[in-house]
């Protein structure tokens, strides 16, 4: 199906290495962010609550679940399994995070996003919405790149049937 390695255009080869980098960065960030939050469930719940977007009944479950969703996606991303599907899910999660931060900033809340653990209320003027948004947008770009170019080196996708996962 695919062209042999010798005739593969250089550009496509380069794209695969870019995708590899994107996968490792995204996977690493998600794994670390999820892990730091999973350590302290109370903080994670407090961080979700601080956004004041969810009813109290959902705050706890989301605060507990979110870090593990990040860990699961991070592991799949690092392993390079079903890259396009996982990248799409990651992009959706990032869009939710971005909307959350934008809405917190728009409502004038003084909170830390708790993206890497901690979170909750901070003093007015100690917010870092700009940096949080730039970082999340950067990660979103990487995820969207992977939806477009899911084929990469050092990925388990390559070992599976060439038709699935990373196929066009």
């Amino acid at each position: 199906m695919s062209a042999s390695a010798t005739t593969e255009p250089r550009l496509a080869a380069a794209a695969r290495w870019v995708s590899t980098g994107a996968r490792l960065v995204l996977g690493g960030v998600f794994l670390v962010a999820g892990g730091l939050k999973a350590i302290d469930p109370q903080s994670s719940v407090a961080a979700v609550r601080a956004f004041k977007l969810l009813p109290n009944s959902l705050v706890t479950i989301v605060g507990w679940a979110l870090p593990f969703a990040e860990i699961a996606l991070g592991l799949l991303m690092l392993a390079g399994i079903a890259t396009r599907v996982v990248a799409a899910a990651t992009a959706m999660l990032l869009i939710i995070f971005i909307l959350g931060v934008v809405s917190a900033a728009a409502r004038g809340l003084s909170i830390d996003c708790g993206c890497f653990g901690g979170g909750g209320e901070v003093a007015p003027g100690q917010t870092a919405y700009g940096i949080e948004l730039v970082r999340d947008l950067g990660l979103l770009l990487l995820a969207l790149w992977l939806v477009w170019q899911p084929r990469s080196r050092l990925a388990l996708d390559g070992f599976a049937s060439a038709r699935i996962g990373a196929s066009q």
Binding site: A38, D40, P41, Q42, S43, V45, A46, A47, R49, N56, I61, W64, A65, P67, F68, A69, I71, A72, L73, L75, L76, I81, A82, V85, V86, A89, G117, G118, G119, G120, E121, V122, A123, P124, S161, R163, I164, G165, S167
Partner: protein, 244 residues
Amino acid sequence: MNGPKNMNAHERARLAAEQAAARKRDQRILIAVVAAFVLLVVAAGIGLQAWRTNRSPSVAPSSSVSASPVTITNGQPIVLGSAEAPTTITLYEDFHCPHCADFEEEFGPVITQAQESGSARVELYPMAFIDEGSAAAANAMACAAEAGFGQAFYLGLFANHTLQWSDAQLIDLAAKVSGASPSEAFKTCVTGTAHADWVSSINAAADKNGVAQTPTMLINGKSVDIATLTPDALKAMITNASQR
């Protein structure tokens, strides 16, 4: 085309359609497997966190700070340590505030040492704004101070800050830090949230005193910048304040 010579256009189209269908099916299976994996990890995580927040508290670091019973007065903080201590450390904390737990881990030993040596006493404003557990813990803190084991209970609450603080967990913690079965009075104080009004009055007092975040620390009434503080610097601050 490199297909067999006898394959006509119709057969080629059929083969392509079959391959496309197989590809689609594989893709669907893959999505299902990935979704199942993510759901499994999330479900296991929720189970783990439910267990971690509902389990019984572990023992807290011990402290020899005086254990005389304290009277709870609306709007007034709980005083922990010697009334004659030259330095007053005022703390505004929520027992479920993550930064308070970090603060306690880093600076708690220095403060406890100052209380034990008699150089400082703590005026504690246990605020309750994060969740139900914050309020339950603040109420139980008042019950424990009244019963005479406030300091040990305080350390126990922060040593176990990942717990959700149900009544049973608070009573269990009291038994562990006081080394005895809690009195009926303490139990009804916890289950009946006897100090609910006091907890609200503390929130109101913090508001009135202009406290916008937790943890907030004042030494002899002067606000301390916690962001740049080190344990050694705090130690020096307490020593200096005590020598005045």
